[in-house]
């Protein structure tokens, strides 16, 4: 935008408003005539002067309707009676003003914190390998027949006690099953644990194939 004369001659606006060309000092005249003619200056001065007079006359003669003030005061009164107690507090709360930079700063801090925390979690936790299944082995005291369906408990009659192995009645269907001779529940539990240990050592071989093991079991019961 081209620089206006009001910018080139800072005092020009004031001079136009207050003095005609003939009232200017010699220095002021010199400054003005460098940019405009005397007639031009006088026309500008007259326009400003006459406009100001015109506006001043209007300000005196054209006035707003005096009832406006009464209407406004009435509205003011209504508003004051409307605002009481909780409403006033609520109104103050929702119309509470804070500078824009405050919420903007808070939002910026939240964003920065989010990125910092997000990046940190990626850097610190590095997995070499991952287990997708975790096995938890728990031993629950129970009857062997309920714990292991392949385990069959044979109750031997008291009459057979003291007889040799060959004389003792063994269930004919036993093929690959453990035999436990139970007289009392607590013996059974004890025997089951031993069988389990032996089963682990045997790696799948039938305990029945191991005569020494059978003897051990019978002796334990």
């Amino acid at each position: 935008m081209e620089e206006s004369l009001f910018e080139k001659i800072p005092q020009l606006e004031k001079l136009l408003e207050t003095k005609s060309f003939s009232e200017l000092s010699s220095m002021e005249k010199e400054a003005v005539t460098q940019h405009m003619k005397q007639d031009e200056y006088d026309v500008y001065h007259e326009i400003i002067l006459k406009s100001k007079n015109r506006f001043a006359y209007e300000n005196k003669t054209i006035t707003p309707d005096p009832t406006i003030l009464n209407r406004l005061l009435e509205k003011m009164e209504n508003k004051r009676s409307r605002r009481t107690g909780v409403f006033d507090m609520f109104h103050k709360l929702i119309t509470f003003r804070i500078p824009v930079y405050q919420p903007a700063f808070a939002a910026a801090v939240i964003v920065v914190l989010f990125f910092i925390l997000n990046n940190r979690s990626h850097e610190t936790i590095r997995y070499l390998a991952r287990n997708d299944t975790i096995y938890l082995e728990k031993q629950i005291p129970a009857l062997p027949s309920k714990m292991n369906p392949s385990l069959k408990v044979v109750t031997m009659p008291a009459a057979s006690m003291g007889k040799t192995d060959s004389e003792k009645p063994i269930h004919t269907e036993l093929t690959n099953e453990h035999i436990i001779n139970t007289h009392n529940d607590h013996y059974v539990e004890n025997a089951y644990q031993k069988i389990r240990l032996v089963t682990l050592f045997k790696h799948g071989h039938s305990a029945l194939e191991d005569s020494a093991l059978i003897r051990l079991l019978i002796a334990a019961n």
Binding site: K50, L73, K79
Partner: protein, 175 residues
Amino acid sequence: MIRNGNKEAFSELYTRYASKLFNFFFRMLNKDLGKAEDFTHDLFLKIIENPGRFDVQRRFDTWVFHIAFNMCKNEYKKVAVRDEYFQRITRKEPVSEEPAKSHQDNKRFMEALDHHLMLLDEKHKLVFLLRYQQDIPLREIAEILDCPEGTVKSRLFNTIKKLSEKLIIFDPKIN
């Protein structure tokens, strides 16, 4: 005090500014008295409804004229105010622009001045009125319009120049 609903404070404020604002609206809205009254009423109603919007760091007149300026701007957007004026003046006798010959022609000069002021675009008219009707310094006008002081100076000078081109035919010196 107005925030607390002090009627006396409000009345004092109204007495100080109502006439100024009314005349400002009167000129900005093409000398429509009814509209000027409505706008004056609405502006003071805004002050009653939202006194908390007044920034105590600012001068009251700067703030109040900033609101007035925004109201006019919205009105200019809503209806083509100048078109309305053009329609109105076409129904009236056109302003004579024959050269002035005597002191009696002062009236004609003033009519022509009014006429050409009305024809100014919103921005130039606004600056001219704030400076010479409201007597507000250029620095404060820049605050009201939210623009640099240089822009205000430039607009004001251009306005005076435009008016002088239109009115030089009357040769105001002879009046």
